[in-house]
């Protein structure tokens, strides 16, 4: 593709606007939400833009209802989005589980703010990383992505929809207050340059359709309600027909399949970026707005002659275990700066398997982590 010939579509967008833009490019046609800082601009953008393209927006009575409506609209055939922040994310967990067990594609944005509870509504945090993984009850898989720039918000929102449709699973997009509200230059891709994935449909006639019988990739084809395939959806553990089962073999196979369909395709799902890691003996692992600071730290450290590199996580869940494990064999020290008191560092420790030192660096005062303080942490650890 010759990009030089094409006039680039560059816009100055706020993070939340970029999320809405990305969703539209991915084919979103339904949004249900409830006002909450710092995510409300996504809802406002959707309320304005969706009806212009024949899509639907609804402001529900609460976050629980928003999540339910999004799932309902998805089953009826529309790509669906909701956006919230910590307190709302807590309320969405119940129906998020329903979407997982019934393999209903949808995207849930959590623009993270400080917590617990009402916490810090207008200040950033990365305190919901483990909530994204284990927020809803039961043993379940999840996909969560974490952009660190406004441009990445756009591209990862598209990616979130694609993964959601492809693997029939809700995808959580983890923003934080800073990148949700900051404005940056964004390159809006032309629709023809974007890969848009839609859920696969059944190829068999209705009388042969088993709504929860997986194909080889572990994902069952999905008929939307109203398309002539009449079937049952339930939050109870169900068999291939979608009817409740208490057969222990069926239960076991079902739960394992939910996990395996993600595990099988982990290479397609996991994305990360490496900065100056080739010769590094010290690695930073960061995500979200902290990754921006960490990238700068790498430059500053290199100027001092320190061999520091960065692994920037874009897919948070499933965790890039293999890559971190490899990295731990290469470097002597991994520092994990994050705006919490140590959440993803736990995964890093697990993946490192004791092959190098893993050190957390946390900040929970509602302020961003800056490059200098990460550099300070590096110096401090070197001295040890």
């Amino acid at each position: 593709m010759n990009n030089l010939e094409k006039k680039k579509n560059i816009k100055l967008l706020q993070g939340n606007e970029a999320c809405a833009e990305g969703a539209l490019l991915a084919g979103v046609r339904f949004f249900a939400g409830y006002p909450i800082t710092p995510s409300s601009e996504i809802a406002e953008n959707m309320a304005f833009k969706l009806p212009k393209i024949g899509g639907k927006f609804i402001q529900m009575e609460d976050e629980i209802a928003s999540m339910a409506a999004v799932i309902g609209a998805s089953i009826a055939g529309l790509k669906s989005l909701t956006a919230t922040s910590g307190p709302g994310m807590c309320l969405k967990q119940e129906n998020l589980g329903f979407a997982i067990i019934n393999e209903i594609p949808c995207v849930v944005v959590n623009a993270q703010r400080g917590g617990p509870s009402t916490g810090l509504p207008t200040k950033p945090s990365q305190g919901d990383m483990m909530q994204a993984r284990w927020g809803t009850h039961g043993d379940h898989p999840i996909i969560a992505l974490a952009p660190s720039t406004v441009n990445e918000i756009l591209t990862l929102t598209i990616k979130a929809f694609n993964l959601s449709e492809k693997y029939r699973i809700p995808v959580i997009l983890l923003l934080d207050e800073v990148i949700a509200h900051m404005r940056e230059k964004v390159e809006i891709p032309a629709p023809e340059d974007i890969e848009v994935i839609n859920r696969k449909k059944p190829t068999v006639p209705p009388e042969e359709y088993l709504p929860f019988k997986p194909d080889e990739d572990g994902v069952p084809p999905m008929a939307n309600f109203g398309e002539g395939y009449r079937y049952h959806i339930t939050g109870l553990i169900h068999d291939h027909k979608g009817l409740p089962t208490s057969n222990s073999q069926e239960i076991d196979a079902f739960i394992r399949r939910l996990h395996n369909k993600i595990q099988k395709s982990i290479k397609d799902i996991i994305i990360y970026q490496k900065y100056s890691l080739d010769d590094a003996n010290i690695a930073l692992i960061a995500y979200g707005s902290v990754a921006r600071a960490a990238e700068r730290t790498v430059k500053l450290a290199r100027e001092e002659g320190l061999k520091v590199g960065l692994l920037k996580l874009l897919t948070i869940w499933p965790f890039c275990f293999e890559e971190v494990n490899k990295l731990a064999q290469q470097v002597d020290l991994i520092i994990v700066p994050e705006m919490n008191l140590g959440q993803m560092v736990l995964e890093v420790e697990r993946a490192a398997q004791g092959k190098c030192r893993v050190v957390p660096y946390g900040r929970v005062d509602g302020e961003l982590i800056n490059p200098i303080e990460i550099l300070g942490k590096i110096r401090e650890e070197i001295r040890k």
Binding site: I64, A68, V70, E94, N95, R230, T234
Partner: protein, 275 residues
């Protein structure tokens, strides 16, 4: 013995899981007969339920069916209806499901007047979990969590639905299956948010704790506590105590939410650009 019922049920799921004499099956029959009267296309019917004994109804009917989370059936149904207004969306709830955990969703669905039909099977108790009192348990009656009698004042679902903005509101009973069928049929046929409360029996939880041993005892009790709307209107406040009026209470025409949203789409598209 082929009846209209057989054309609409998932036979492999029968006999149903409900206790002997449970009113849920009677309401299921009334819903099916009402749908059959309307000759609706099964492919275009969606039945949504929440959690509780009554919510198992969706597993038994051969439509697009969805047994969702406790109290949340209406918002799920709202998403479905918004996404595809051509679908006929029926929501079946229990009394606890609809009026306690789902109470907020209920009044807001009514306020929006979205074109859904809500059928509430009111057995005045949480049956599935063992007979705890619900917001529709009459004051003074017993439940497993009201061993000394219920001091709560119960909701009048009919008045609640009318106040919240529903287009159609009716109440029937499982003792009066013909009337209930026709009320459900009217509700299904009505554009906008329609509500039909069906007073039902839970012989195992409610009956046992309130001195009604058999399903027949419960149905007799339901017969005794209900009067037609007309008779009710002539009652003094004292006579009304402990009684329920049955019949049709409201049927009015008002634009439904999906129609109003179509207007929004038109407006947004006419305006164009980013204004």
């Amino acid at each position: 013995m082929k009846t209209v019922i057989n054309n609409y049920i998932r036979e492999e799921m029968f006999p149903n899981m409900w206790c002997p004499g449970c009113g849920n099956g009677i309401v299921l029959g009334a819903i099916i007969r009402a749908i059959d009267d309307l000759s609706w296309d099964k492919d275009k019917i969606v039945a949504v339920s929440g959690i509780g004994c009554s919510s198992r109804i969706t597993g038994y009917v051969d439509f697009c069916t969805m047994n969702t989370t406790h109290g949340r059936a209406l918002p799920f149904a709202t998403g479905i209806k918004m996404a595809n207004p051509d679908l006929k969306v029926i929501v079946v709830m229990g009394d606890g499901d609809c009026s306690a955990i789902g109470g907020n969703h209920f009044i807001h669905a009514a306020r929006r007047n979205i074109d859904l039909t809500a059928i509430i099977i009111n057995n005045m108790i949480y049956g599935m979990t063992g007979g705890q009192y619900s917001p529709l348990t009459p004051t003074g009656k017993y439940g497993s969590t009201a061993p000394y009698g219920n001091i709560d004042q119960s909701f009048d679902l009919v008045e609640l639905a009318i106040a919240a903005g529903a287009s159609y509101v009716a109440r029937g009973t499982v003792y009066n299956p013909r009337q209930s069928t026709s009320l459900i049929k009217n509700a299904l046929d009505k554009k906008g948010f329609s509500v039909v409360e069906i007073i039902s029996d839970c012989p195992v939880s409610y009956g046992k704790m309130n001195k009604m041993k058999s399903p027949a005892d419960m149905l007799k009790w339901i017969k005794d506590i209900t009067v037609s709307k007309k008779v009710w209107e002539g009652f003094s406040p004292d006579e009304k105590k402990g009684k329920y009026a049955i019949g049709e209470f409201l049927s009015k025409d008002r634009p439904d939410y999906t129609e109003l949203y179509e207007e929004i789409i038109k407006k947004a598209q006419e305006r164009g650009g980013n204004k």
